[in-house]
Amino acid sequence: MEGSTAVAVDGTIREEVEDVVVRFAGDSGDGIQITGGQFTLTTALAGNDLSTFPDFPAEIRAPQGTTFGVSAFQIHFGSREIRTAGDAPDVLVALNPAALKVNLADLNKGGLVVVDTGAFTDRNLKKAGYEDNPLENGSLEGFRTIAVDITKNTLEAVKDHGLTQKEAVRCKNMYALGLVYWLYGREREPTVNWLNEKFGKRPEIANSNIAAVNAGHAFGETTEASGETSAYKVAPAKIEPGLYRTITGIEAVSYGLVAGAQKANLKMTFAGYPITPASGVLHSLSKLKQFDIVTFQAEDEIAAVCAALGGSYAGTLGVTASSGPGIALKTEAIGLAISVELPLVIVNVQRAGPSTGLPTKTEQSDLYQAVYGRNADAPLVVVAARSPADNFDVAIEATRLATKYMTPVMLLTDGYLANASEPWKLPDVDAIPDFPVEFLSDTEDFSPSHRDPKTLARNWPVPGTPGLEHRIGGIEKSYETGNLSYEAANHQKMTDVRKDKIDRIAGDIPNQEVTRGDAKGDVAVVGWGSTFGPITRAVQKVQADGHKVSHIHIRHIWPLPKNLGSLLKKFKKVIVAEMNTGQLITVLRSEYLVDAQGLSKTSGQPFKVSEVEEAIREILGK
């Protein structure tokens, strides 16, 4: 929480703050994600900039009340530009002891804890692993607390609506929401409307939930009157005018693929195999069949990438999505796509650790896999998204490059970006330039290996076209005829042309810009992917102290922008911050011989702004 002053709004004394981080936490059955979603929408409507991050338990039905069954949702909102879901919460809403136990250590000093005392029964305390009640043993010292029997108050608020006991208890998340609404002076109306719409067929449920929201809100007013708690105001942020919605990374990448296929004037063949955190792409595209999309849940990732490639062979846009372990399985087929030069988009929603690792935690450790991870000299294009909404643009760019250059493109995103959401200024899809694909139809002097002299992309003859019957395959083929060739000079030439084709793409992507700051200075902080938010905020904070620090965020990982090498040389020091043990830094060192320093984090959690900030200050201090 930054910058506080007191103001009076609607008779309530509200302390004005610049930005706040609130974390809702409870049992996975407590409706935490819904609560977070509603608070997000209302906060967006109030004009704040925001960023959110849900944190689900890895277990599907973890035993109720246990620490590993805790579900959380964090939102960071403010009157300034918000780029991350926040380092540490200022407010923790804990609906049971396990939620308190898991999250309390993260709370900022002096932060506010809202607890449901009704859930702090001996049984629940035991399940959470508490020996004695943290509400009574001084554990909450140093924090401000609103301890309220949310369970009991909720039951009381909904008692006239005829719900079963179980249904009634389920309304307690709405009570908590109402209380937090009061805390930040939020309108209840959007949630009331949403409840009425969602439970249209069961008005008793809608009305109970509304009653719970109101009761929570009323409780806030009462405590305020009694002087126990103060309320806050977060003024609207200066946000670019326009029409907005919130969007998660998974939604954005899916819509971006649809847009990309439209721009390429292609139908889409999407094939996937369920894997956390990438399954969402398969799920969301399966609901978009009206856009001429065939979705296919294959028997494994190998079959999925192969079916996607088979789809490209037939003249559609072949797309597959997975996470690290699944991408590993796809590797051989990606090599085939490189060899036969067909377009293919591979979405890698990265997750933490080798092997199964931490499936629900985030990391950026598949950069080597994307850039180098194939047998033989097998170059492809790698692009990376930097924020949830950015996945949309990057998916279009991936499609453009795949179809224009007849090459596989790997789109790197990650578990954090996939699940996090942010407000998105809606683009006019029609205004995005088209890049329509032209299939070959001219039979004269036909060879499947003829290529565009400029892009080096081979032509795309699609089965079904009379007169263009030909054979392709993974065996080395003649540069001239496309027929099998075991000739030494030809293999040299084909290897060179495959590399040259990808290298030339550097001339068809934007020059590297400085994301924040000057194009020269003392320190450049280089990042890629989801570290965008924390890096840019950290750089902003250090710049505010007058330091010559810049942020360079790389979207095109391979090939790299043409001017990147010379740009980096204009800084005395270069820091590369990434959520791996130093992968981009290796690439940059090897490409540009730049003496960069790494800032690495592999805890499964995104960087905190403070961590990046400290690293910059340290290097500046030297």
Binding site: P241, T269, V294, F296, A298, G315, V429, D430, G473
Partner: protein, 341 residues
């Protein structure tokens, strides 16, 4: 009156590509490619609509020798690539070409799924009971005791039956052919082609270099008539040099037995009539092994059902009908939105 000029008739030669065939002289694959070219000429398959998609192995070189579209892919995965191709363009006529290692070892998973999904394509498995291309290791169909570079003391693992596997996977068309039956094999291919859905054909193929003569025990001229039975729908299961041997259910037990017509008061009426829609019978026939039984050749099972790609496209079409002219701009704006002034 206008008379439409009849389209030029394609001959067997028109289906052969100009590429030099690189199989070992005497390899059974030669007869299979000829049988295929004949079958395609017989059905006048349009070159541009036909695609051969193969994995890796000697057998999988096949597409290079056909004048149609062809895709020589990676080891074991042809079925998956073909599934994507068929989903993307259901008008294409797809043949998957595979070997016993390609189909049943590295690609066993994909074979299983392409069959159970019933994707409309023809899957031709060239079974030579050996890994030809990698120089002769035993394969999942090799008999126990097969000596090979990797099993100098003889192979230990039990072989599987490709045909029984296919039936077990839920294939709706299962047939067998032999490379050395140049008249019969094109007919099997034509039946496979006529079947809507996944058609599985096991072709017994001789690898003259690494497994020469593995099928002699039922394909050699002197024994063929007694050790093979060419099954035909609606015809009694009769075989033998004198066509006096028949197959019937052993009374009181679910088992086939061989009987001789004219002995023990057995007449033709006692012989089972082949019913290719009967899966239990197909399974029993597939299980018959030489020398105790004749090896069943021909269409063992054919019972069409809706194809996978038709069902997939029915869903796509239903969505397109429910949401005609979908507009992405509209879609993106369909949920909660707000305006920042």
């Amino acid at each position: 009156m206008n008379v439409a000029t009849p389209p030029e008739k394609l001959t067997v030669k028109d289906y052969a590509s100009d590429q030099e065939v690189r199989w070992c002289p005497g390899c059974g694959d030669y007869s299979i490619v000829r049988a295929m070219q004949k079958a395609l000429a017989d059905i006048q398959a349009p070159l541009e609509k036909t695609a051969f998609i193969s994995g890796i192995g000697c057998a999988s070189r096949f597409p290079y020798y056909m004048a149609t579209y062809g895709f020589h892919t990676i080891h074991g995965r042809a079925a998956s690539i073909a599934t994507g191709t068929k989903l993307a363009n259901p008008d294409l006529d797809i043949w998957v070409i595979s070997g016993d290692g390609d189909a049943l070892s590295i690609g066993g998973n994909h074979l299983m799924h392409v069959l159970r999904r019933n994707v409309d394509l023809q899957y031709i498995l060239f079974n030579n009971e050996i890994y030809g291309l990698t120089k002769g290791q035993f394969s999942p169909t090799s008999k126990v005791g097969t000596r090979s570079p990797s099993t100098p003391q003889g192979s230990i693992d039990s072989p599987l039956s490709a045909t029984e596997f296919a039936l077990g996977c839920g294939a709706r068309f299962v047939a067998r052919g032999i490379d050395a039956l140049p008249k019969h094999l094109p007919e099997v291919f034509k039946r496979a082609h006529a079947h809507k859905g996944a058609s599985f054909v096991e072709v017994f193929q001789n690898c003259i270099v690494y497994n020469d003569g593995v099928y002699d025990h039922f394909t050699a001229k002197d024994v063929a008539a007694d050790r093979q039975i060419l099954v035909e729908h609606g015809k009694p299961l009769i075989f033998g040099t004198d066509r006096d041997k028949g197959i019937r259910m052993r009374p009181g037990i679910i088992e086939l037995e061989i009987v001789t017509i004219g002995e023990n008061r057995i007449t033709e009426a006692d012989i089972l009539v082949h019913d290719e829609t009967n899966k239990s019978l197909a399974t029993l026939l597939a299980q018959m092994e030489s020398p105790v039984f004749p090896v069943a050749i021909g269409v063992l099972y054919c019972d069409p059902a809706e194809t996978y790609e038709a069902a997939v496209h029915a869903q796509v079409d239903a969505e397109k009908e429910a949401y005609p002219k979908p507009d992405l701009n509209e879609m993106l704006r369909s949920g909660p939105t707000w305006t920042v002034e």
